[in-house]
């Protein structure tokens, strides 16, 4: 038995990279997430969708913080999607760690794209 987390990464023709995570994620899937972030690079704005995720731990938060840090260094748009229907455990770990105030968090991919597009055009 292992974690059931899945990670799907797409570099869309619309110019957005999206990583959609589902299921449970911990130290066993953190290297895969780190690799997907690395593979996507910084060419496109990046959205990480956590709406179908049911568990993340501090290992995953560490990878996400690393992604955010690299994006900021390159002035590249980066946001998380955590909608109203997302699993409460995900919002809880962000709130317990204070990282909900660090990451740009949006209620949907559309909202993230709209906000991050504005950010990109403003910079």
């Amino acid at each position: 038995v292992t974690g059931n987390g899945r990670i799907e990464a797409t570099a869309a023709e619309t110019g957005w990279s999206v990583i959609a995570m589902s299921g449970e994620h911990d130290l066993s899937t953190a290297p895969e997430l780190r690799a997907r972030l690395h593979d996507l690079g910084d060419a496109n704005p990046l959205i990480i969708d956590l709406d179908q995720t049911t568990f993340v731990d501090s290992s995953i938060l560490g990878v996400l913080v690393g992604g955010l840090r690299r994006a900021r260094e390159r002035n590249a748009p980066f946001g998380l999607v955590l909608g109203a229907e997302a699993h409460p455990a995900i919002r809880r770990i962000f709130e317990l760690t204070g990282l909900h105030e660090v990451f740009p968090i949006f209620a949907s991919r559309a909202e993230a794209q709209a906000a991050l597009s504005a950010q990109g055009s403003a910079s």
Partner: protein, 137 residues
């Protein structure tokens, strides 16, 4: 006095894939005890963080070792012991992670003690209040 769920002991290899095994075991115990979903989530997270510490730090470089989990269920609380027989508590290396594991565990538990395990290594004892009492038999 309500019936207590049986105590559970689990020993798994100290590798990343074992963490989910312990998490799922703990989740099952919590649900059997009638804990609400938020409490179950908190206990799963604390157990995961304790096991992650073992995998990352207890047996650094040795390539083997185990994580031992003891779960003691009472009518109003659950106590989890996560034990390793590795190098013992050492200053947290800063090279990997955010150092959030122990602060998270402290925030999620009603009591937390970390002691040297019998025979060497580290034993993390975490107690959680169960929001809902177990169902009447």
């Amino acid at each position: 006095m309500t019936a207590q769920a049986a105590d559970v002991t689990l020993v798994v290899p100290a590798v990343p894939d074992s963490i989910a095994v312990i998490r799922q075991t703990v989740s099952g115990i919590c649900e059997a005890l009638g804990a609400d979903s938020r409490t179950v989530g908190d206990i799963k997270l604390a157990a995961t963080e304790a096991c992650t510490n073992v995998v990352l730090h207890a047996y650094a470089g040795s390539g083997d070792g185990t994580i031992e989990l003891d779960a003691h269920a009472g009518p109003d609380e659950l106590r989890l012991l996560v034990r390793d027989h590795g190098a013992g508590m050492t200053p947290a290396p800063l090279a990997e992670g955010l150092g959030l594991g122990l602060p998270l565990i402290a925030a999620l538990t009603s009591s937390l003690t970390i002691v040297e395990a019998d025979g060497g290594g580290t034993e993390v004892s975490m107690t959680f209040a169960l929001r809902d009492p177990p169902p009447e038999p």
